[in-house]
C-alpha cells in the first residue's frame, strides 16, 4: 500500500496557498517555458482543474525552489503532474525528489489512478535528469507550444501504477528514510 509522503530527508512538499501564487508566477517567468498572461489573469486562471498543488521547500532553510501539482483527475483513471523549479535553486536533485513525491502522492491519494501523465518539451528534459528517458513516452504533439521564440513538440509520458509499485515507490520509501541519496537519475533505477 502506498503512503502519500510529503517529505524526504531534505525536501518537503507543502500544500500551496493563494499567497504562493506570485512566487509561482515568478518561477514560471524565470523559467521562460510559458508565454504567461499578466499576473492578475494568471492568479485568476491558475487553479482551474488543479486537484493538489505544492510548494517545494528545502528543509534545511525553508527556501521554496518551485512548485508541483496534480491536475485533471479523470474518471478514466489518470491524472497529470506538473512541476516547475527555479533552475538556480534546484540543484542537487531536490527537483527530482519533489517529482518522485508528487507522482507517489497521485497514486497514493487516488486509488483509481492507473497512470500519471507528464507532458514536457525538449526545453525541460535535460533538467529532469536522464531518468526521464526510461519512462514510456505515449505520444508527441508536434510544434504545439510557442515560447523562447520557437515552436516546440510536446512529449506525453505516462507512468503506470504497476511500474510505480515495482520501482518508484521503493525509491520514495528510501528517500523518506534517508537511505537513498538524492540523484537526478532516481527515476531510472529500479527498486
Amino acid at each position: 500500500m502506498l503512503h502519500p509522503h510529503l517529505e524526504t530527508v531534505r525536501t518537503r512538499l507543502r500544500p500551496a496557498a493563494e499567497e504562493d501564487v506570485p512566487r509561482l508566477y515568478d518561477v514560471l517567468l524565470r523559467l521562460g517555458l510559458h508565454s504567461l498572461p499578466n499576473p492578475e489573469a494568471f492568479a485568476r486562471q491558475h487553479g482551474q482543474g488543479v486537484d493538489a498543488q505544492f510548494a517545494i521547500e528545502l528543509k534545511r532553510n525553508g527556501e521554496i525552489i518551485g512548485f508541483s501539482s496534480l491536475q485533471h483527475l479523470s474518471p478514466a483513471g489518470h491524472i497529470q503532474i506538473g512541476i516547475f523549479t527555479d533552475p538556480e535553486l534546484s540543484r542537487l536533485g531536490a527537483g527530482a525528489e519533489a517529482m518522485m513525491l508528487t507522482v507517489n502522492y497521485g497514486f497514493a491519494k487516488w486509488e483509481q489512478v492507473r497512470k500519471v501523465y507528464f507532458s514536457t518539451t525538449e526545453a525541460s528534459l535535460p533538467s529532469l535528469g536522464r531518468g526521464m528517458s526510461l519512462i514510456p513516452r505515449e505520444a508527441v504533439l508536434p510544434e504545439h507550444l510557442f515560447f523562447q521564440g520557437k515552436l516546440w513538440d510536446v512529449h506525453f509520458y505516462a507512468i503506470t501504477r504497476d511500474a510505480w509499485l515495482e520501482s518508484g515507490a521503493h525509491i520514495v520509501n528510501r528517500l523518506v528514510r534517508g537511505v537513498e541519496q538524492h540523484d537526478p537519475e532516481v527515476l531510472r533505477r529500479g527498486g
Binding site: S74, A76, G77, H78, R114, V140, L145, F156
Partner: protein, 183 residues
C-alpha cells in the same frame, strides 16, 4: 485567400452563443443528433470553460431548416498557431456532417492565423473529414484516456494543416456544394 463560408450544398452553420458540455449534450439529445455520443465522452472533447470557446455553430439542413447538430471551435492558441474543431452531427446524417466539418475547419483557417486545426476523437478515424482524408494527419494517441460507460477508449488527435487545406478546399467545397455528391 480562404473565405469563411457559412453554407455549402444543403448545409448551413448558424453562429450561436456557447453551451457547456452538459448543455451541448442536452441540445444534441433533444434534436436527435448526438448519434449515441455519451456525455462522458463529450465532456472530454468539449471545452472545460466557456471562455475557451472561440466560435460555436448550430448545424442546420438548409432545405428543411432541421437542426442537425453543433460544431465548435475552441482552445484557440494564436501563439502555438492552432485551434480545436469539433463537429457533432449524427453519423447517419453523413452529407450534412461532412459539409459541416468542412465549413468549420474552413472557418478556422479563414478567421485566425493558425497553422493547424486539431480534431479530437475517440473513434479510429475521422469519418467526418473523409472527403479530405488525404490531408488529415494522425498526430497523437493517448491510450485508454476516455471513460465511456465502463469502457476505456483511446483519444486520438488529428490535425489538418493550412497549406494542405488551402490546396484542397476549392475542389472540396465544389464537391460538397453538389447535392448528392457526398459519399
Amino acid at each position: 485567400m480562404i473565405f469563411p463560408h457559412l453554407d455549402v450544398g444543403r448545409t448551413a452553420l448558424r453562429c450561436v452563443d456557447p453551451l457547456d458540455s452538459k448543455g451541448a449534450h442536452g441540445f444534441l439529445t433533444e434534436h436527435g443528433s448526438g448519434g449515441g455520443l455519451s456525455h462522458e465522452v463529450l465532456s472530454v472533447l468539449w471545452a472545460v470553460d466557456l471562455g475557451e470557446v472561440a466560435a460555436q455553430f448550430q448545424v442546420e439542413a438548409r432545405d428543411t431548416g432541421r437542426v442537425a447538430g453543433l460544431s465548435v471551435l475552441q482552445r484557440l492558441d494564436l501563439n502555438g498557431g492552432h485551434v480545436q474543431a469539433g463537429v457533432f452531427v449524427d453519423p447517419a446524417d453523413e452529407e450534412v456532417r461532412s459539409a459541416a466539418s468542412a465549413l468549420t475547419v474552413n472557418y478556422a483557417f479563414a478567421n485566425w492565423s493558425v497553422r493547424k486545426v486539431y480534431v479530437w476523437t475517440v473513434e479510429e478515424d475521422l469519418a467526418e473529414l473523409r472527403e479530405a482524408s488525404e490531408i488529415v494527419r494522425r498526430e497523437a494517441t493517448l491510450r485508454e484516456f476516455v471513460h465511456d460507460g465502463g469502457l476505456l477508449r483511446d483519444l486520438t488527435i488529428f490535425a489538418v494543416y493550412r497549406e494542405d487545406w488551402a490546396r484542397v478546399v476549392p475542389n472540396l467545397l465544389r464537391r460538397l456544394s453538389r447535392a448528392g455528391a457526398v459519399r
